[in-house]
Assembly symmetry: D2
Homo-oligomer: 337 residues x 4
């Protein structure tokens, strides 16, 4: 960590700052130039809050030299992490297609979708039981009953299931769930991350709506620092000024995370863009960029849907996308799980 002092920093302020840093078991190297006065802090600076130091009267700026995360850092863990989901491997060298409806609506719906996406080649089933909704008046999901229906679909098809946890108090209902999803709105629900770090469940950690990649990795660090090594990252778009898409799909996050971390990284183009016709080209882009999988919304419930046969991606469209995905994953020299 480098602390750049202000021009007129007073000697007693600097000494007080140096003393305090030294008291924390760190070493300080002072460097005085004609135009700059710098303190280099050596040791484990991960517990030092840069914001506090920036606010000091004598300080102009603070700059970390090393990343604030350790367990998720590729520097200290060079080999790729492969997460095992009931036999399915997620990570470098593999490609997983996770498919299913936004919300679980009924047993018929979820089992029908599960069978169809399995037949097309999906490796896991997704479906929302607890639904975070912007409006208190909107459908909030079937909750505990939704989990049961997902488990019924798992029993029927053998597909591992992925579903979102929105409240740590419901964790007890997730015993048989294969992958617990932490949604964008809970990426910085640190109490939840802490608890999940002390479970042994694979966690799918979605990127927060306006999180930096570093903040996202720090949230993964919360989970890993608790002992749980099974973390999968999921890019789902960030909030920008552009209104042509619901969010801006940050494709660069894929190669950046591959470089900074050893964790698997998948993408969710459905939520990223809010437009079904963008799912296919963005899955192709993600495969090219080196992603380890994609999660896609597939619906098949004409009786409840607002408009017959027109609901987002149908099992038929998913089947077409899967054929294309198969040839691309092969081209990349990866294994389609």
């Amino acid at each position: 960590m480098i602390i750049i002092l202000k021009d007129g920093a007073k000697q007693e302020q600097i000494q007080s700052l140096v003393q305090n840093i030294t008291n924390r078991g760190l070493t300080v190297h002072e460097s005085i130039g004609s135009q700059s006065h710098i303190l280099g802090v050596i040791g484990d600076t991960s517990r030092v809050d840069t914001q506090t130091i920036i606010n000091l009267e004598c300080v102009s700026d603070v700059k970390r030299v090393s990343e604030p995360y350790k367990a998720v850092n590729r520097k200290f863990h060079p080999e790729d992490t492969i997460v095992d989901i009931s036999g399915r491997k997620v990570g470098e060298g593999y490609f997983n297609m996770i498919a299913g409806p936004c919300s679980v609506e009924s047993e018929e719906q979820i089992i029908e979708v599960a069978k169809r996406v399995k037949a097309s080649g999906a490796s896991m089933l997704r479906g929302g039981a607890y639904k975070p909704r912007t409006s208190p008046y909107a459908f909030q999901g079937l909750k505990q009953e939704g989990i049961k229906l997902l488990l019924a679909a798992k029993k029927e098809t053998g597909l591992p299931i992925v579903t979102e946890l929105t409240n740590i108090m419901n964790l007890k209902y997730f015993d048989e769930v294969d992958v617990i999803q932490v949604g964008a709105r809970n990426m910085q629900n640190f109490d939840m991350l802490y608890e999940l770090g002390h479970s042994n469940k694979p966690i799918l950690l979605k990127r927060g709506l306006s999180s930096t990649i570093e903040e996202w990795l720090m949230s993964a660090e919360y989970i890993m620092s608790g002992g749980n090594q099974n973390v999968i990252l999921c890019e789902r778009g960030i909030r920008t000024y552009e209104t042509a898409t619901r969010n801006t799909f940050d494709i660069s996050a894929v190669p950046i995370l591959k470089r900074l971390s050893h964790l698997p990284i998948i993408v969710d183009p459905s939520h990223a863009t809010g437009k079904t016709w963008l799912v296919e080209p963005l899955v192709r882009a993600a495969i090219g960029a080196g992603a380890d999988g994609a999660m896609i919304e597939v619906h098949n419930n004409p009786s409840c849907a607002l408009c017959d046969g027109a609901q987002s991606i149908t099992p038929d469209t998913f089947d077409t996308i899967m054929k294309d995905v198969k040839s691309r994953v092969k081209f990349e020299g990866k294994i389609l799980v």
Copy 2:
């Protein structure tokens, strides 16, 4: 709600859509122009999800005519809400200065700060007991012990206390807390909002880091729809590309919320900008814009601080700011609480 159909929308798709909307007890008016084909939906559309309709094959766009919130809407509640905090009034016509340290660190610290800010004219004491921290290795607050120390300061000074709840499971420790703060990261923790809506505590609802004003009001709606009418909104900056400040303080939110809602709106310039020297000019700006109060970080703990006497805003600086605030609140014809 207005649904704009695509040029080549098929008749059976439109009929299916109309049928589904009608089934929900709503009425549809069809309007066919030479260049546009539009469905006007009449009735209570707050349960209709616009995103689902946009995804329909026959639909080009959907536009709400009325706001999706009711309880927080000034249209249905024209008079200003005044929240009563143990006798202190928060809302239009009043101005509250809430002051205190970012984190409660010790009994001496919090009582000393409480006495000082009370002497200067603060109407409430703030202090963090449970601290949401980006890094799992950073100090997470004194937790339950921090609440006890805040209550000791309250007993000593009579100042009502404001402190943040980060996990609904800790609500039991907040019985004597006067105002429960929902932080930016929990603005869309809907399970927490639901629970707080069923409590009778005044809630200080901070704006999410990248929330729109409408999403923020929808979160307030979660609380109010549960029966709790005591909601105070707090602008604390939004995330943008600008790096000169930690966040961009959205001053326009103040007059916009005054127009859209009847709820009190205060500002937090300390967190918005991350720079202590911006607190004073932004408090002045907020008073001019019509805010009902400000929440300010005041520290006074040289022994623990990293650099003697240089920690963010000191009680002395706060005293200077309060003198200015007093004359400005008087100029506006408001009552300083």
Copy 3:
């Protein structure tokens, strides 16, 4: 265009508004519901400014039903535009790799780079002669002399050249330039767009740093409405809060533009991210997403560079990338130009 009136809109205001719209040769359909009062405007609304109408006292909101652009709109021009650059085709079905240094520095440099990238398979040479620089003290390019050096490299290698115009007064020096680049900062330099619309040069129109896709297409419309049909769009990243990359590369822009417009769309991952190691994965992503080409910075000037052999992408790295690009373009069933 749909105009949503406010609840209490006065009859004389509405009549005045209807009269004014009718005076412009448009037709108005009024639709009064129990909860909404709407005016549907029929006719050529492209000259009507929505912002002016939104500001009217009686108006709640305005929504365009049709896009504000015509010449660039795929609706009115369904077949893909293929731009011919001295025999090289740019557009759907083809893939162009445009390579060269950020700035032209000397004859040796530009000719050496040109030869190397041509040997690897680039179809065009890029290089900056006029450089827009944030600081007035930074190197502003070789200007007119830079154009001459580019033409020398063109003569030597036969590669068409692409270079940026920053001031319409310099257009006279661009007679032998094959493609005129309009940089991000000039995307809304409407006087320049107007002049280029009346030239017959192919134009490479970069996306503005914070332009929406619609604004970008409107800038292309400026050029096409002047008569110049040879416009190539270039995605180069948008400004967001994320600091891991210089800009956020908006990969979704590629399939969106393919749907909304018939114009070719290429990508510039070098400027989008500011990180050379991201160029290769993002070119792969862009090919997957359906882009028609990529523009890449390649340097080869150890004597001037700050650190020997370490400057951004070298001709050797470019050669490696090109080998990969060749197999991918073939996989997509496209022709590498």
Copy 4:
């Protein structure tokens, strides 16, 4: 400037980098810690491009210690700049209200508005003659004729006029214009800034739509480095994800610029928000934050306007705002010009 080297940086790369920096007349101090290897660069680093250095293989990060701007920097010019506009003073201690229509439409309109705003207390008249418009089909202003009408209004009322230059080739028509406005879209039109720097006209430099404060100051530096000391900065909102306002009015820019620079800073709430009812509260906020003036759109042209008597801010509303502004400027101890 501090250069942080990568962990495994090779000795020959470092030596080459040091050599190159030394060749530019700068001095390098090397500092090797157990966890960090740092080069401190001493001397005039304003010509060194940080981006080039960041891209070097051996470099982890680069951090400027001093600001890249000089002429606009308060450090080297502590006293406030007061720009004199035909006798009206703009800068610290004064407050200017600049008012007028978005576009000049006719002689009657501009003279009527000029008389009205003068009577209410405006110190200058604004009006658009050359209008940058997103659509090529929208009204582009009366151009040269618009300037003539502004000059007629100036003659009639004595108010200095402010109008936008969109193309440096039109500068010859601005001889009698008192203040040349550089619009948001031209803030980084460096050729234009260069030319204006070599003129002696007062320049009103609007902030770019997505410019950082540092980039904005660098654009002011372009003008000042040419010799023109008469620069006024104008905050007009930045582009963010929030859609409740057209742009997000960055009130913090006012006190930040007062600290970083000696130049006057005014605000434009009309363009910042796109909502007339926000103009009044934001002017009050800006006065509180320390702004030196405000520029406000005032229309009075019922015959051309789309809806009688409802056009944005009327002279009557402006008169009401001015009464409030007068008492506030007095409260601040400033002189209303």
